[in-house]
Symmetry: C2
């Protein structure tokens, strides 16, 4: 028999301080064309349009972003409007409770870059097969450097179509990350998951019964407005926010992982964005009116004023309206702490 | 008897590409408040206001800058409007031909920074005494580093109140500049001179007779409009432009030099401007809305947008209207070659 079709469940969250000043609270990272001409959100939808593999998407987002979703996705997807921001476990729960119990959900953040969409679809199909057998499936993203900014998944014993998860590892220090890379058997946890909707709700009920019940009540008391679904606010507001990693993945006895080597980046800062964009022979990347003299690996992005740069290496310059950011690539991780980013 | 009073002759020229984008063709460097609250031109006038030492100034400038001069100097000085830009020898010649022959002229560029104005006045008095004896006097500015961007003056035998000039040296290479500094006996030629007006015209007539005659005709055929003097354009237009160094100083047998150790800078680029401004304990200098994180010796100047800088050292960031400049201090000397600076 043909495999069940996959329902993309796309999570639009996050305040987006790390790509400030380009990404700002009213229009954060998912809704900006950061790599190429499509926005991160549009590219996320694009990856899930496939003849026979995917159904229409379900999007979970806060009310502040519904306008961007309507503009960029049209009215084909179902949009679930979160009554409050409660992290990923309740957000996924809303979709799981709304969908038929046998729906296979593929949970995707809306602001990740995937250079090889074919590899993404292949991993999605493998994950969906395991999810149909009631595994809680995480994408295990091929670790290509000793990154200390991500959680890791330690691969366990093989099962058909993947592996059990041995354990989830919090963000490691550099020494540990280097050991993971040298040893193998550790993949990045990129926040991409596959679940059967009913199985997810069962696991949620087993490990976070109050949250599962509140989610069910919010969906039962919700209402549709066209393709937009508004859960009941009261039960949802009472939930204690928690990530799906903590609430479900680290507790379930049926956690599985499928390998995904697909040119993935969470574009976690200006340095990562620079690396995701194609550069010229000197490694420079420019968007907008820019002149670079004797520069290497410099990123310039300007929405208007001309930017002239002389003699710099590994530096990022961003001009966005009333804000100008100049940072070393290494300093890019501190952008979120700047007054401008923090006080939006 | 008391010494003759000194007439400051202030030259306002130059296109000002090296401090682009702050300095632009319509309002170049002399008319901007680059160090402190006074413009370079205002500060030049301020240095020459002294009880009993100086007369009112004579300003020589192109017509494009008369409006700035009126705004910043009022109507006290005489303004000679150059009919065309012909370099410094003809510009000084206009003042020399217009002034009484026994006037003692102190020729000053209008865009230099002098940290110690008292030392300037002392050197001016010494130079004036020599000029009254018909010496052609250059300020010999104390060389404090092996600078390759300036001409040098090699000091010759002592005369009363100074020294003869042994010779003028073109901009040296670094090795030569380092030797000059180690040996001593070499000062920078900063383009500050003292002449008796009649003596200057005699020397000009001896070495550049056509130029001297054209200058005399331009002054004889000129007209006053209030305090503004317009030389006759036709004779002046025929002059072949030349610097006073080439036309007079390198040819006269009566070149003298007076030492001047006065915290001088020609503010020849953004790096020099940074060094002329007081910094905080990390060596950072900011004008306008700026936030610096983990920076050292960074200059930020913005006329509006907030500038946030992370992790940089020895870098200059300038925001001026529709232009943003980011350069290493070392790269600042190439600012004039940028499209924005070159195509004004």
């Amino acid at each position: 028999m043909s495999p069940p079709r996959i329902t993309p469940v796309i999570l639009c969250g996050g305040s987006g301080t790390r790509l400030w000043p380009r990404s700002r609270k009213p229009k954060p990272k998912p809704f900006l064309p950061l790599v190429g001409e499509r926005t991160m959100f549009e590219a996320t939808l694009d990856r899930c349009i496939d003849d026979g593999t995917f159904t229409n998407a379900v999007i979970v987002a806060g009310s502040a972003h519904v306008c961007h979703i309507a503009e960029q996705a049209g009215d084909t997807p179902t949009v679930i409007v979160e009554p409050a921001a409660k992290n990923t476990a309740p957000a996924i729960g809303l979709a799981a409770a709304l969908l038929p119990t046998d729906a296979i959900m593929l949970v995707c953040p809306s602001d990740h870059h995937i250079a090889e969409p074919d590899a993404f679809v292949a991993a999605a199909k493998a994950a969906a097969k395991l999810a149909a057998d009631d595994w809680m499936v995480a994408f295990g993203i091929a670790a290509v450097r000793p990154e200390t900014g991500y959680g890791y998944i330690r691969t366990g014993e093989p099962i058909e179509g993947g592996n059990r998860v041995d354990r989830f590892v919090e963000k490691p220090d550099l020494e540990t990350a280097e050991r993971f890379l040298a040893e193998g058997g550790h993949a990045w946890n990129g926040g991409i998951f596959a679940f059967r909707a009913g199985a997810f709700m069962d696991e949620l009920a087993a490990h976070r019964p109050d949250m599962a019940e509140a989610v069910r009540q919010a969906v039962a008391g919700g209402r549709y407005d066209g393709q937009t679904f508004h859960p009941a606010p009261e039960p949802f507001a009472a939930i204690e926010g928690e990530s799906v990693d903590y609430a479900v993945m680290e507790n379930t006895r049926r956690a599985a992982v499928v390998p995904a080597d697909m040119g993935w980046s969470d574009i976690g800062g200006w340095d990562a964005l620079r690396d995701a964009r194609p550069g010229d022979e000197a490694g420079n990347r420019t968007i907008g009116n820019a002149e670079l003299v004797d520069c290497r690996n410099v990123l310039v992005e300007t929405d208007g004023p001309r930017v002239s740069v002389i003699g710099l290496e590994d530096v990022i310059v961003v001009v966005d309206g009333d804000e100008v950011l100049v940072t070393t690539a290494a300093g890019a991780q501190r952008v979120g702490k700047l007054s401008g980013a923090a006080n939006q």
